[in-house]
Symmetry: C2
Subunit: 193 residues, 2 copies
């Protein structure tokens, strides 16, 4: 059935959805309510057409300027630099004191993402116009995240104070299950108590 | 963002998609092409509105009668009874000799699915009108699948020859990793070679 195959293909294009899962999801759509499927289709269109990027920080939002950038109570001379909106939202759950800047990706040699594909010029403009004193690099501790942090710290270190999220033990972690790299970082970054 | 939350909720209603995955998928939609998202929405609507059930066997298809039921070369006095279209398609990959009957579910005490919710009356009609000699019960070897097979074999055994798919070792399986129930079935069902 071509119609079902089309739907399977649509699901398959989503990241992390393999052919088997795509097939399972497509069949499950057939078993669901008409109303739900209509809503699903509408939600897809709405999300894609109505959600844009904040003109200041680059986060996904449903207006020109996001709520975080509008918030007057945030620290105004510090920016947390993240790779994606999702990362900023994860940090929001921990603290709502800072403002953000979304790079929209990481530098990646494997995926051929060079620095010019990231939002860096806008970041430089903001540092100047908003008189930013500190940039907190909050990219992931993956290879690409580290590469991006290294690159940014190189081009920013003469302009502004550049810091990086601390490495160490995740809270609630069992020492015996941690990888050696994390342990090494936790030892070399040890603090006086 | 309400719009994004709506999309996350839509993804979450799909079976096997938890809140974290739904969030990941919804964000990924924002990063995909406009064209793809439009197509995805259209494919959802098309699948739901254009795919119906074959009037003879109950399989999902895009016409009134499915290709299998139209096929004159299949064995005509035997029906393979399955729980879902997907199961029938799985069997099709192994053999294209038989015709099917889709129950549209399994009897399940936990999910409160009683026999009257399955397509059983239509099966009984077919057995009579098509003069069926053998019913091959091909429900899954799960609790619900077994319950369904047991129920059907009880109501059919006086009308027709009832058989069940064989239990035993899956091909290519390592004996040491098999569960005891499968091994027990494989031993009690052993064949002369």
């Amino acid at each position: 059935m071509k119609i079902l195959e089309n739907l399977i293909e649509s699901f398959e294009k989503l990241p992390g959805i393999g052919p088997k899962t795509a097939e399972r999801l497509a069949y499950s759509v057939l078993d669901l309510d008409d109303e739900y499927v209509k809503e699903f289709a509408q939600n897809l269109i709405d999300a894609k057409t109505k959600i844009k990027r904040c003109k200041i920080c680059g986060m996904y939002c449903d207006s020109d300027i996001c709520d975080v950038c509008k918030d007057k109570d945030r620290i105004s001379d510090t920016l947390i630099v993240v790779s994606s909106t999702k990362d900023a939202i994860a940090i929001e759950k921990a603290t709502k004191k800072y403002k953000y800047f979304v790079l929209n990706g990481n530098i990646s040699l494997l995926k051929n993402i060079t620095p010019d594909k990231l939002n860096i010029p806008l970041l430089l403009t903001r540092i100047e116009t908003e008189n930013i004193k500190e940039i907190i690099l909050a990219t992931s501790s993956t290879l690409d995240g580290e590469t991006t942090a290294r690159y940014l710290s190189n081009i920013l270190e003469n302009k502004v104070k550049v810091t990086r999220l601390a490495y160490g033990l995740p809270m609630g972690s069992e020492l015996e299950y941690l990888d050696t790299l994390t342990l090494e970082k936790a030892i070399s970054g040890r603090n006086k108590i």
